[in-house]
Amino acid sequence: MTPDDVTAEAVTTVVFVLLALVAVGFGFLVFRVDSMARATFALAVSFVAVGGILLLLDLDYLGVVVVVMMVMEMAIMAVFMIAYMMNPAGLMPMSMYHDKARAMSVAVGTFVVLAGGALLVDWPERQGAPPADVTEQVGLGIMGSHMLVMMGIGAVILTTIVSALVLASARSRYDRLGDDLKTRPARDPIRGGVGP
């Protein structure tokens, strides 16, 4: 190992420890802060840290994608959070917990079991090396050997879109277009855009 390698590894380790602490620490903060906005964005920071960890593992694409997806999700989550919480800004401190002690014991137990397993199990040796273009590998994977998986995911996502809309929307096309679906223009609460 050359001196440069040692330096690089030390830097990697330090960065990793920092990211891991951020991921776990902000993850815990999610359930400790009063303000819902802070909770949401603590979770977002945790996700960004995990994205950083993925970058350390040479997973450039997936790391950035995790950031993209999760920050979007959290921004939307904040909206719902504020829509459905009694005290979103945490201005009037109140407890929103139940079964705190039991939950903590279950969580600690889970951690002990999982971490113990992680440390005690004799994991297999590394086989092969990452390809030169990691992104290409996953691209070829989902377009080739794992195509079925992604096709399944696609079908599930389509189902999700439809069922989520059906569940969440109070209005249907009959509200928009009348009982015979012939009302034009549609009776939208807000007019405009394109389409009937």
């Binding site: 139940h98 079964d99 039991r102 939950a103 279950v106 137990g109 889970t110 079991v113 397993g117």
Partner: protein
């Protein structure tokens, strides 16, 4: 995409698009379809001969498509005829033109698939699609019950014989584990004979040969443009084509080639007589089609692939021209009955010239198309057997006779009817067909014949000048005879010939009625024998029961009453034991179960987080179990 598949998919895609858009594009659909056909023709001409290409389809059984000389020539013929039909169709069909055009394209696609296929699997696909499209096309007129019935008759007849192809495919798989055409002659034993029989049946059925020619008569209920494509150039011709393509298989079987040759010769004669007896122009043309296809089948039987190919092409050109003319007259004069068409040729001279060319060619007058092509077939037959040659010559004379009959009618000197107003658009597209009808004998003769041989890769038989002279003279003589004595000849035809030799009734008698009778018999057997047995058993059971009841009343009752008193005593005793002993145990078990059930319900709190906790605990337990078991 490689060319063979493109050739099939181009018209299919265009046809499907028109099916979807058809109702909206009703007026412009024929023009669009014609454009698609022209494009297909362009691709076909640009492709030329290609080696066979295997497209993966089933494991080990690919689609094998390729273009060789024969499929190229027939493909070009079919495309040209389709183009002419599509250009003429708007002037002859008023309703649902979009539907007509789109299904003509789909039909074209199926025909091209049939022509390009080099294995039974893709052939079957093309064959079946062709049949289905023909059904839709024949039953084109909305609300015409008879046309629908006729389409059904045609479809059922040909489909029943198409089962032969499936049998052939099965035999080929069993015998050689391949469906390729090249592997078929290599079969031996029963697979060879079954394959030959199956192919023969399917091809003869499609080509409307004896004894199933009647479906072609029924198919005349469809629109004339449809007949012009299906019953001259494409569908019936595909029957002949299949035999030409698989002539090696027929030869290998040792008997199928002779059977084909004689069936062809007999059909050519018998349907020639039928044609001569017809008084309806389309029926006459239909019978003549079957008769002319007889020559092709004869050629296939004697191994004259090239001669048969020439005759197919020449006949397609002549007959599509005549069918379209029949449609034109039906549309303008208002009838297809020969009596009504008297002097029709003079009433629209341009159309009359076309008709004369077509009919003279059909008669086999030198130097027109069918003269040369028919002589090529006859020469091939002569190499094989003089008897076949003689039969062919007889059939040639008959074709001159029925052509002469029509010619005499339409060329009668006009006596009254006013000239017809026929726009040039409705006859101009026929000119290329007429040109073909006039000139295609070149394919069989002389230098052009040699070039054609090279293209086909099969030798034409050497046509003796003497033979040409004989058949030409025969045609001229018969034509002259028909011109002067046509009425008498027609009148001399047997009545059976007018009714297509009662082939349809025979078909009903031989195939339909037995099947129906068998099913009735089976139903009757079910009703009478099986049902009867069941009912009899039931009745006798009833009688037995009554007898036993009588015995019961008289003998057993006493014994029973005595026993009953004892039973009652026993029952009381056991009742006490039941209430005090068994019941107690049951109640206790039930109570315990209920308690357990209540306990179990406590986990079902409806609280999401508690479910999560349970799930976590369960997972932990499962992990533990896994660790312990390992």
């Amino acid at each position: 995409m490689s060319a063979p598949l493109l050739l099939v998919l181009l018209p299919a895609a265009a046809g499907l698009a028109l099916v979807l858009l058809g109702p909206r594009l009703d007026r412009s659909a024929p023009a669009l379809a014609a454009a698609a056909t022209a494009a297909t023709l362009g691709v076909l001409l640009g492709t030329g001969r290609t080696p066979e290409i295997a497209y993966p389809f089933l494991r080990g059984l690919p689609w094998r498509l390729g273009t060789d000389g024969l499929s190229l020539v027939l493909g070009v013929t079919v495309c040209v005829v389709t183009l002419c039909v599509l250009l003429v169709a708007p002037s002859q069909v008023a309703d649902r033109r979009g539907r007509l055009a789109s299904f003509l394209l789909l039909f074209l696609s199926a025909v091209l698939l049939t022509l390009l296929s080099r294995d039974l699997l893709s052939l079957l696909v093309g064959w079946e699609l062709m049949g289905a499209a023909s059904y839709v096309l024949i039953a084109h007129e909305p609300g015409n019950r008879r046309a629908v019935d006729s389409a059904t008759t045609a479809l059922l007849t040909t489909r029943a014989l198409d089962l032969g192809l499936y049998a052939a495919a099965g035999a080929a798989l069993a015998g050689a584990a391949t469906l390729g055409f090249d592997g078929l002659p290599g079969l031996s034993g029963w697979p060879l004979h079954l394959a030959a029989l199956g192919v023969l049946a399917a091809a003869l059925g499609k080509a409307a040969q004896l004894p199933v020619s009647f479906w072609l008569s029924r198919a005349m209920d469809g629109p004339s443009p449809v007949s012009a494509l299906l019953h001259s150039a494409a569908m019936v011709a595909m029957g002949g084509y299949l035999l030409l393509r698989l002539a090696p298989l027929l030869a290998a079987s040792g008997w199928a080639d002779d059977a084909a040759a004689w069936t062809g010769a007999l059909t050519a004669i018998a349907l020639g007589v039928v044609a001569l007896a017809q008084s309806d122009l389309k029926q006459l043309l239909a019978a003549s089609t079957a008769s002319q296809l007889g020559f092709v089948v004869l050629a296939a039987g004697v191994g004259g692939t090239a001669a048969g190919g020439v005759h197919l092409v020449a006949h397609a050109s002549v007959k599509s021209l005549l069918f379209l003319l029949a449609g034109l007259w039906l549309h303008t004069v208002g009838t297809k009955d020969l009596d009504g068409l008297r002097a029709a040729a003079w009433r629209a001279p341009a159309v009359g010239v076309l008709a004369a060319v077509g009919l003279l060619s059909l008669a086999g007058l030198p130097p027109l198309a069918l003269w040369g092509s028919k002589d090529a077939v006859l020469a091939a037959a002569l190499e094989h057997s003089p008897l076949l040659y003689a039969a062919g010559l007889l059939a040639a004379g008959l074709s001159a006779a029925y052509a002469g009959k029509v010619l005499a009618v339409v060329l009668t000197r006009p006596t009254g009817p006013a000239p017809l107003d026929v726009p040039w658009t409705s006859w101009a597209p026929l000119v290329p067909l007429a040109a073909g009808a006039a000139a295609l004998s070149l394919l069989a003769l002389g230098a052009t014949g040699r070039r054609f041989e090279e293209l086909l890769g099969a030798p034409l038989p050497l046509v003796e000048p003497f033979g040409l002279l004989v058949s030409g003279a025969l045609a001229a003589t018969v034509l002259a005879a028909m011109w002067w004595r046509g009425e008498q000849v027609t009148a001399a035809m047997p009545a059976a010939a007018r009714q297509w030799l009662h082939l349809e009734s025979a078909g009903h008698a031989v195939a339909v009625r037995p099947v129906r009778a068998l099913s009735y018999a089976l139903a009757a057997f079910d009703d009478r024998v099986l049902d009867h047995a069941v009912m009899a058993a039931a009745a006798s059971t009833g009688r037995l029961a009554r007898t036993l009841a009588g015995a019961d009343d008289r003998l057993l009752d006493h014994a029973v009453e005595g026993a009953a008193a004892g039973t009652v005593r026993t029952a009381r005793a056991s009742g006490r034991w039941d209430v005090e002993g068994v019941d107690g145990v049951v109640t206790a078990v039930a109570a315990a179960t209920r308690r357990l059930g209540a306990q179990a319900r406590r986990t079902q709190t409806g609280q999401l987080h508690q479910y999560y906790g349970q799930a976590a605990a369960l997972l932990a337990a499962a992990t533990l179990l896994l660790l312990l078991v390992r």
